[in-house]
């Protein structure tokens, strides 16, 4: 059964991060939020497995401090 990966897995983390931020250049806040929504849906489809996505949703929930 597939599991959510929470250890480093990006081959070029700095390149990824720079590309992600650059993708938002020139977008308004609403446009950025919409961009993120589309991106999440695309990545979720790439993952495919609902259990993994559920685990990701739980991991992204901000813990109480």
């Amino acid at each position: 059964m597939a599991e959510l990966t929470l250890t480093p897995n990006l081959d070029r983390p700095d390149d990824f991060y720079a590309e992600l931020i650059a993708a938002h250049d020139g977008l308004s806040e609403d446009e950025s939020a919409a961009f993120n929504a589309r991106l999440i849906l695309i990545l979720a489809n790439q993952i495919g497995n609902t259990q993994v996505i559920s685990a990701a949703l739980r991991a992204a929930t901000k813990p109480d401090r």
Binding site: T5, L6, T7, P8, N9, L10, P13, D14, F16, Y17, A18, L20, I21, H24, L27, E29, S32, A59, A60, K62, P63, R65
Partner: protein, 551 residues
């Protein structure tokens, strides 16, 4: 009349900054009494670390070099503090790496905080088997002083280096085959000529201005307040602490870093619209420090406010004039790529200019200084810009992503490589470089491919880089080859090593990989020019000629 003109007419040169060490006081030169302008092979403009290192590189080759500086020594204030391995290796090749290492503070542990929480800590886990550590922290005036002391030592044994203090270049005229310099001194003006002029006169390079050359890039709208402080009861560990949005509100980010002499560097990000004078008042600096440090007694050693830009000149070579260090390129301080990359410029330029002056290489070899170091500067600008964008997010969405990374990094390993408070400064590999030759070592490690700086390795007696030195070398590992050969006026010296010694596992891992034997052609700046499994006379000669720009 402007200040410079007034000073020029009255033969006065005012100090623009206070000196930490007065190391090259003004002395009258015989050039000042000559009937006609004296011609020098090389003149270096600027007596900072890059200018003095350039003089050392050339002087140790026996090439006469004159350094002109409008001050009489080293400026006060620690400024650059992180000196990386490759920079120290270059200094070691010039003979002053050891005092830097002895004086410097070595650190491996870093902690990253967000608000009042520790996000994670990291250990640089330096790779074993290198003479020098990944980094030392050392105040820039010490770095410069060790370079100047080495110049004095080299002069005593005959190196033709001259350091001329209070010699301000006020005008240059660039000709096809030389440069004319108009110089002002406390005793009046004089003129000299240079076959080659190297501009090492810093980020605000007057030489660049005189030649009307571009220096374009990106301005970052943020100011940083530096306070170097001495703790009275020093109980802080030797670690790098970096806060994003610290709870003590002394800055949008804050860095705490140890230097020699019990001095700590504190660096507060304080925003763009600030009044420098107000912020630098002692009570205001202390208010920030007190909020951060709590009940700690300290003495303020030095304070400064800086802003920065990431930019470079389009070209580093302009005929007979070459630019190096901050004069040619400027980066943000995150990632320690300023002084460190300037030293790599010197490393790259020194041997090339030496060969051109000796008539062994065509002047076009100097165009490869431009190609290779522009490539390096772009890599440094890219890395330091990314760190800056992470530390000082420029839009709401990038701020949200930045804080999301920090939130996740607190809990999950995967997000930690995304946290960027400055990447370890490493020398660039001249991939696709114009001087690279064959990569004909099947199974050879990627890290020693042509264009790479040679990684150090322990030998039974000392270290590999000590053996390479500063000339062309044929490094053979478990391979047969003649003990030396001469090609196009270059004496190629063989360094023959075997993997039968006790310490050789590391050497094999770094230079052989899966291969049984290896032959490397190594440049004087200790970058790999070409490599093969076995020695081939024709191939070696061809790639040596290629590496000096002959074909």
């Amino acid at each position: 009349m402007n200040r410079l003109l007034w000073e020029k007419e009255n033969n006065m040169i005012h100090d623009r900054y206070q000196l930490a060490f007065k190391l090259y006081p003004y002395e009258r030169s015989t050039d000042q009494d000559a009937d006609a302008p004296v011609r020098h092979p090389v003149v270096v403009m600027g007596g900072g670390p890059i200018g003095v290192a350039t003089a050392l590189d050339l002087g140790l080759q026996g090439i006469p070099v004159v350094v002109l500086d409008d001050h009489e020594g080293i400026g006060m204030g620690s400024r650059a503090i992180c000196f990386a391995k490759r920079c120290l290796e270059i200094a070691d090749r010039y003979g002053c790496g050891q005092p830097m290492l002895d004086k410097g503070v070595i650190w491996n542990l870093g902690k990253v905080f967000h608000d009042d929480r520790k996000v994670f800590e990291f250990n640089l886990l330096p790779e074993e088997g290198h003479k020098f550590p990944a980094f030392i922290n050392l105040q820039q005036p010490y770095f410069e002083r060790f370079l100047v002391e080495r110049v004095r030592e080299a002069q005593a044994s005959g190196a033709p280096i001259e350091l001329r203090g209070k010699n301000r270049v006020d005008d240059v005229t660039v000709h096809d085959d030389h440069v004319t310099l108009e110089i002002t001194t406390p005793e009046g003006p004089y003129t000299i000529e240079a076959d080659w002029l190297i501009g090492c006169d810093g980020a605000s390079s007057p030489l660049r201005g005189m030649m009307g050359l571009d220096f374009e890039g990106r301005v970052f709208e943020d100011s940083f307040l530096i306070a170097d402080i001495k703790m009275v009861n020093d109980t802080f560990p030797t670690e790098r602490w970096f806060w994003f949005e610290p709870y003590f509100k002394s800055g949008a980010s804050t860095l705490l870093h140890k230097q020699p002499d019990g001095v700590w560097r504190v660096d507060f990000q304080i925003g763009w619209d600030i009044d420098r004078k107000t912020e630098l008042q002692e009570e205001n600096v202390r208010a920030r420090l007190d909020a951060m440090l709590g009940e700690v007694d300290y003495e303020i050693v030095w304070t400064s406010i800086y802003t920065f830009q990431c930019r470079r000149m389009k070209k580093f070579r302009h005929g007979r004039v070459l630019f190096a260090g901050d004069a040619a390129h400027q980066v943000s301080p995150f990632g320690a790529r300023g002084a460190n990359s300037g030293m790599q410029d010197v490393d790259n330029l020194g041997w090339k200019l030496g060969l051109v002056i000796d008539g062994k290489a065509p002047a076009s070899l100097l165009d490869t200084y431009d190609t290779e170091r522009v490539f390096g500067a772009d890599e440094n600008i890219l890395n330091s810009t990314r760190a800056t964008d992470f530390i000082t997010p420029k839009s709401k969405i990038s701020h949200i992503f930045r804080n999301a990374v920090l939130d996740l990094a607190e809990q999950y390993d995967f997000a930690r490589p995304l946290v960027n408070s400055g990447r370890l400064s490493v020398p660039c590999v001249y991939d696709g470089g114009p001087l690279n030759g064959a990569d004909a070592l099947p199974g050879g490690p990627s890290r020693t491919r042509p264009g790479s700086p040679c990684p150090d390795a322990p030998l039974d007696d000392g270290y590999l880089l000590d053996q390479l030195g500063g000339s062309f070398v044929l490094l053979t590992i478990d391979a047969e080859a003649p003990d030396g050969l001469e090609e196009s006026g270059i004496a190629l010296r063989r360094v023959a090593l075997s993997t039968s010694g006790a310490a050789s596992g590391v050497l094999a891992e770094r230079y052989l990989g899966e291969a049984a034997t290896g032959v490397y052609l190594i440049r004087p700046d200790q970058h790999v020019a070409a490599r093969w499994a076995t020695f081939d006379d024709t191939a070696t000669r061809t790639d040596l000629r290629h590496a000096i720009g002959l074909e």
